[in-house]
């Protein structure tokens, strides 16, 4: 087939406007498909990360938004004493926007000495020591740093809160890279928050053998008659509950992605059918001089495959580049869903494009390959 590649390419270039429009349409559709896939992957990773089941989140009972949950900070001390608990860390959550948004900035304030033990983060720029020493120091995830153009040494303000960025970190958990970590006490004393001595939540790390659900019950029982009742869940369950509304929405976008693939199918199939109808006589001529029906079939399928693959590559590639450079994350109530530009997404985009290209070409190719030569030669 290689020797026929110039013929196939020149044939595609014959109706260049039509070909370019089809490639553009395919690129746009595959861009959306990839983007939707990235959101889906980010959500799946957030909800299915097994590590999230080895830590618990203690929240104020009957509260759902971080800005309304206020637990006494010393609850952490009581929880640490319970059996099967490795550690308990009070965390103050502050964000610029409580609703679902693509540009949520989430601050987590926690004791400086605890950050390294509870979070799996690696500093890409800056140093740990200024973070531990400096009261308003903050470590920014590389996602939010890229999005907000933050660098080490820079001051950064959200409302009444102003921090100094002393480090940029990466994390094995993609959503973490859209967080900013600062000191618990600094966040508690921020003007307007009025939260000295309180935390939004307590993050509890379990021993390997501890039953998570039993530990949740133990903690809630401990404070059932305390000043503020608690509601404790595994971190995974807590995140799933918090982003519950988004799960439905993101689930719906899966259909949007599939609709995009169907659109590519329709687009490429239409172009292929038009190309075949334009060349009925040419295909008959080729068969007259000795090309087999399979040659014609292969030419048409190759054309449709190429158009779809080129469009798919452009769309998928553009989406991945934008995802990579923009570090977008969808956030709601302090939980972030990172849009992941993964290799598997690239492969999925290309495989979907190739599959659609093949399917779109098969029927017109089969019809052209089986056409009778003599009537086709007379076709005007």
């Amino acid at each position: 087939m290689l020797r026929f590649i110039p013929y196939i390419l020149k044939t595609l270039w014959r109706h260049r406007t039509r070909t370019l429009l089809t490639i553009s349409g395919t690129a746009v559709a595959m861009f959306v498909f990839t983007f939707v896939g990235a959101v889906q992957e980010g959500l799946d990773l957030l909800l299915n990360d097994q590590r999230q089941d080895r830590s618990l989140i203690v929240f104020q009972a009957n509260r759902f938004c971080p800005s309304t949950s206020k637990l006494p900070e010393d609850y952490a001390l009581g929880i640490r004493k319970l059996p099967g608990i490795k550690d308990a860390v009070p965390i103050k959550v502050f964000m610029n926007n409580c609703r679902a948004s693509l540009d949520v900035v989430v601050f987590n304030g926690l004791p400086a000495d605890k950050l390294r033990s509870v979070r799996s983060i690696t500093l890409q720029d800056g140093d740990w020591s200024p973070f531990e020493r400096q009261r308003d120091a903050a470590l920014a995830g590389r996602g939010v740093a890229q999005r907000r153009k933050l660098s080490v040494g820079q001051k950064f303000s959200i409302g009444a809160l102003t921090v100094t960025v002393v480090g940029i970190f990466s994390s094995s958990v993609p959503a973490e890279e859209s967080m900013i970590y600062t000191h618990l006490e600094f966040l508690q004393r921020t003007r307007g928050l009025n939260s000295v001595g309180t935390a939004t939540q307590i993050e509890v790390l379990l021993d390997e053998s501890t039953d998570a659900h039993a530990a949740c019950k133990l903690i809630d029982d401990l404070y059932r008659s305390g000043p503020i009742a608690t509601n404790t869940r595994t971190k995974g369950a807590f995140q799933a509950k918090t982003v519950g509304d988004l799960i439905e929405l993101v689930g719906f976008t899966r259909y949007l992605g599939l609709a995009c693939v169907a659109m590519v199918l329709g687009l490429v199939a239409t172009t292929t059918v038009m190309g075949v109808q334009d060349r009925i006589r040419e295909h008959a001529m080729l068969q007259t001089i000795g090309f087999t029906g399979w040659h014609i079939f292969a030419f048409i399928v190759s054309e449709s495959l190429l158009v779809s693959l080129i469009g798919g590559s452009i769309g998928t590639g553009t989406a991945l580049v934008i995802l990579q450079t923009s570090s977008l994350a969808l956030g709601t109530e302090g939980i972030l869903i990172a849009f992941l530009p993964s290799a598997s997404l690239a492969v999925t985009g290309l495989v979907a494009s190739a599959f659609v290209g093949l399917v779109a070409g098969v029927v017109p190719a089969w019809q052209a390959a089986r056409a009778e030569i003599v009537p086709a030669l007379r076709f005007a």
């Binding site: 020797r3 026929f4 110039p6 013929y7 020149k10 044939t11 270039w13 014959r14 006589r281 040419e282 001529m285 080729l286 068969q287 007259t288 001089i289 000795g290 090309f291 087999t292 029906g293 399979w294 009778e372 030569i373 003599v374 030669l377």
Partner: protein
Amino acid sequence: MSLVEVQQVTKEYVKGDQTITPLKNADLTIERGEFVSLMGASGSGKSTLLNLIAGIDRPTSGHIFVDGENITQFSRTRLARWRAENVGYIFQMHNLVPVLTAYENIELPLLLLGLSSRDREKRVNIALEAVGLMDRADHYPRQLSGGQEQRVGIARALVANPTIIVADEPTGDLDSETSEQILELLRRLNTELGMTLLMVTHDAHAAGIASRRLRLEKGVFVEVLPIVSFAAAERN
């Protein structure tokens, strides 16, 4: 043994609720090196017969032997391969691929024969020279005149050195001066290269250049002129 033997060939096709029989129990033999022209009124079945001999159509009954092979028994794929190796087809409307240059159009049949690019180049250049279009090799069909396009079509038909060349109204789309040039070219293919040609034409003058002229009348062949092989005449 004759190069082409058409034995009791009938072709029928259905159009609406009518069965049309353009060819009924036709018999024909063509010797190697002959140039046969085939005339007849529209619908007399002359193009049908040409297409059957070229292997792009199948008879309803009867047999066609070319170089000893019964092509009516070939599968669709084998027939295509046979055409690639044995038939050069010259169309009335040239049927060149518009996005390919003259060179690439002529090269098309050779792509099926598994030749190296050097061999293909050599053969295409010989064909281009034979039709006098060496200086038009890189031109696209839209950059060629009707006569030049037909010459490219002829070069494409002869480039694979086929057993037989068939031509369906090769001058039907050309002016008289260009027609003369094309007919002269076809005559030279027969006399100088010894190629066997079967040409369908409406034009009695065009038919006159053939060594044997046949007329189809209601499915029956009428031989018009005595057999004179230009190739044989040239050799003598």
